[in-house]
């Protein structure tokens, strides 16, 4: 009771900060423990972390590379979090990521002659569908037969790895015959998700600029109109959401057009030729907002969350557990597939054999670090992106294997999962707990 009253009294900002304390201390403590391990095995942690910092933020193009690394983490973190919200544990994000890559690249180099916007959408759509199928199988098995998704998604990971190895490998059907290395052909230019550095060239024609601006306008209209409807009658005379939507859409479209036009002349951030930051990053943020909206503001999200919070109550309330298990798992896999699609279309532009991105377990850590909050996944993904991106320079400078970053990540996850440790260590009071109990046995 007393806890509860404290919660009622705390201001929203205070609550927000309280929620940040544990994750922040978890990261710091994990880094300190990582330093101890490095020191104990004869490396200099200070040099290593300086390297990490430089590599992640300070050296040339470090920030843009960090954002590049952040992009898949946001998608994959969202994927895992969506499963969690329904009480499902998707450990197979990595496999779905591969399958998404394969689907996207296949559409990217096999389909020709489509306008860029369609081709790109088609390729990303293929990635989503492929990922959704890959996770939908374990989802279906769980929903219909009760066979546990943890084992099944892991098995699907291994199957995906062997499948990718076959398809792209030495005599695989997707291998580029023109290349000596085992890799697929590059995707057509029309299926490429533009990098920021490519934008000026792409937007050279006023027609493209206009199309882009139109897309932004339509999107802005939908969002603003909805938002205005939600706000209700707070502003007199401005009530009509259609009017407000149209005005904002026009404004934003115009700004976009002008911005894109000026890009040619003055250039923007991250538009250096070698910068690899692509539109996928912005798509990731948009998708994070979309996922948040779905979970919090729609009946679909309500159903998914209810099944996750209490399957028995959901069943009682007439919410189909089978349907939501399959749906949540498919959406989760779709997001992971999209991560793969974005990675391949925006960054790599083809799929190389023997890639092991190692995203599967990391993305669980990202989701939990953000307490499964879709918006929180953006900073959590950024942190993991920075760690991943900085790790190379750390390895180079201090001679310490970059795998130590995984150890740090595991420790972060441990402190997040068992906040008791952090609270005891730093003597912090507990705030109200919430979350989904995932482990329910195998039955």
């Amino acid at each position: 009771m007393s806890n509860h009253n404290d919660f009622e009294k705390t201001s929203p900002w205070g609550l927000f900060l309280q929620q940040l304390i544990v994750p922040a201390l978890a990261v710091v403590t994990a880094l300190v423990l990582g330093a101890i391990i490095m020191w104990a095995t004869g490396n200099d942690p200070l040099v290593a972390y300086r390297g990490l910092l430089d590599g992640a933020f300070l050296k040339k193009r470090a920030l843009s590379e960090t954002l590049v690394a952040t992009t898949p983490y946001i998608f994959l973190g969202l994927a895992v979090a969506f499963g969690f919200k329904c009480g499902l544990f998707n450990i197979g994000a990595e496999g779905q990521f591969y399958i998404g890559q394969l689907a996207a690249v296949w559409v990217g180099y096999n389909v020709h002659g489509l306008p860029a916007i369609l081709h790109l959408t088609l390729a990303l759509g293929a990635a989503i569908v492929a990922g959704a199928i890959w996770s939908g199988i374990p989802g279906y098995l769980r929903a219909k037969l009760g066979s546990h998704e943890v084992i099944n998604t892991i098995m699907m990971n291994y199957i995906a790895i062997y499948l990718a190895d076959y398809l792209v490998g030495l005599s695989g059907p997707m291998r580029d015959p023109a290349s000596s290395a085992p890799q697929t052909p590059a995707v057509d230019a029309s299926a490429q998700l533009p990098r920021l550095s490519e934008l000026p060239a792409l937007m050279a024609s006023p027609v493209t600029r206009f199309t882009a601006a139109l897309l932004v306008a339509v999107f802005a209209f939908i969002v603003v109109r909805w938002w205005w409807q939600q706000r209700g009658n707070s502003l007199r005379g401005w009530r009509n959401p259609w009017v407000v939507g149209l005005i904002s859409a026009g404004g934003l479209g115009l700004i976009t057009y002008v911005f894109l036009s000026s890009l040619n002349r003055i250039g923007g951030p991250f538009t250096d030729r070698a910068d690899r930051l692509h539109l996928g990053f912005f798509l990731a943020i948009l998708v994070a907002v979309l996922v948040w909206w779905i979970l919090e503001k729609t009946t679909l999200g309500f159903e998914v969350r209810t099944v996750g919070a209490s399957p028995e109550a959901a069943e009682y309330a007439g919410i189909s557990i089978v349907r939501n298990f399959v749906l949540a798992m498919a959406i989760s896999g779709g997001l992971a597939g999209l991560a793969g699609g974005v990675e391949v279309l925006g960054l790599e532009r083809n799929v190389k054999s023997f890639f092991s991105a190692g995203y599967g377990f990391d993305s669980i850590a990202v989701a939990l670090l953000a307490n499964n909050n879709p918006l929180g996944i953006i900073p959590a993904g950024f942190l993991f992106g920075a760690l991943r991106n900085g790790a190379d320079l750390m390895e180079l400078r201090a001679g310490v294997s970059k795998q130590i970053i995984l150890v740090v990540q595991a420790l972060v996850l441990m402190f997040i999962a068992a906040p008791v440790i952090i609270r005891k260590l730093y003597r912090i009071r507990a705030i109200r707990e919430e979350g989904v109990q995932l482990t329910r046995g195998w039955g």
């Binding site: 098995m155 499948l163 294997s401 996850l413």
Partner: protein, 312 residues
């Protein structure tokens, strides 16, 4: 393929099935020990990986394989203690705790591999694997002798463990208490059984057993540590445990089934050269999913499996 050839190949295939079943069975036993006390352990994979690495490391620095085996088991046991503390005392979600250990294992083994094992300054003893032991007389029995009595030590230990665990679990006070704690911890508590203690000991023993499965990879099969060399066998072990209805003997049979595809993979590759090897490599994983889907309805886990217990 003619019949005589199959007969001729049989002992070899069976022996290698038994060999490949060994880490799966041992992983399953680890799972049985933990889950009979209601602690889900998906970290068996990670524990095996760490044990494989530490085993190689200890062997490298002491020159003794058996010290490597012990070192690997203890390292795995240490991780099990961590899992126990997280799950039992801190009531962390058990699957998340397992995931923590799995990530940690990938990281720390990769780190140590690069630091100490990839280009070692010391040389490994020769041979660097545990050697087969021919049991006198028994090894001469046709077929049976080839399959059962010319194996390497961990295979024997696995076979013995099967029966020891079956006995301990179902015929002894310890087993009775373990099962009570896994089914209805509150009932056990009201009879004065220390639920936490029983769980901790079982999880620790499970860790030691998983470690034995881990050193199989580095010290019995390969002779050194490779990154990610456990390749999902710990997870397949969990599936074997479910298929075996949480009993050691059942898990052993399940492990044999899961070990078979790997054993016949080489033979298959020979007879079906057009099938890409990747598809043959997928079989154990696909098989695991199919078997799990078929069996899960009838396999009833311990009633309290996965649930933390709140001591009053």
């Amino acid at each position: 393929m003619d019949f005589a050839l199959i007969i001729a190949l049989m002992p070899g295939v069976l022996a290698s099935a038994l060999r490949f079943a060994t880490p799966i069975a041992i992983g399953a036993y680890s799972g049985v020990l933990c889950e009979r006390a209601a602690v889900i352990n998906i970290a068996i994979e990670g524990m095996m990986l760490v044990a494989a690495m530490v085993g190689d490391l200890v062997m490298l620095y002491t020159g003794n394989i058996w010290l490597g085996v012990i070192g690997g088991m203890l390292a795995s046991g240490l991780l099990a203690i961590l899992h126990g503390v997280l799950c039992i005392n801190f009531k962390t979600d058990q699957i998340i705790s397992g995931t923590v250990i799995n990530i940690f294992a990938i990281g720390i083994t990769g780190f140590a591999y690069r630091r100490f094992l990839a280009t070692p300054t010391l040389t490994r003893p020769i041979p660097s694997t545990l050697q087969p032991i021919h049991i006198p007389f028994l090894a001469q029995i046709p077929i049976l002798g080839d399959v059962l009595f010319q194996n390497r030590p961990i295979v024997y230990i696995m076979l013995i463990l099967t029966f020891v665990l079956q006995y301990v679990l179902f015929k002894t006070p310890w087993g009775l208490r373990t099962r009570a704690v896994g089914e209805h911890p509150l009932a056990a508590d009201t009879l004065g059984i220390d639920v936490y203690k029983v769980r901790h000991i079982n999880v620790f023993l499970g860790g030691l057993v998983a470690g034995l499965g881990g050193v199989w990879f580095s010290l019995e099969q390969v002779g050194h540590f490779d990154m990610l060399m456990t390749n999902g066998k710990g997870f397949i072990g969990l599936a074997a445990m479910i298929f075996g209805k949480w009993t050691p003997v059942g898990s052993f049979i399940a492990a044999l089934i899961f070990g078979l595809p790997e054993a016949i993979q080489i033979t298959m590759n020979f007879y079906f050269p057009h099938v890409p090897y990747q598809f043959l490599s997928m079989i154990p994983y696909v098989l695991t999913m199919i078997v799990l889907a078929g069996v899960v309805g009838q396999a009833i886990p311990p009633a309290a499996d996965g649930q933390p217990y709140d001591k009053q």
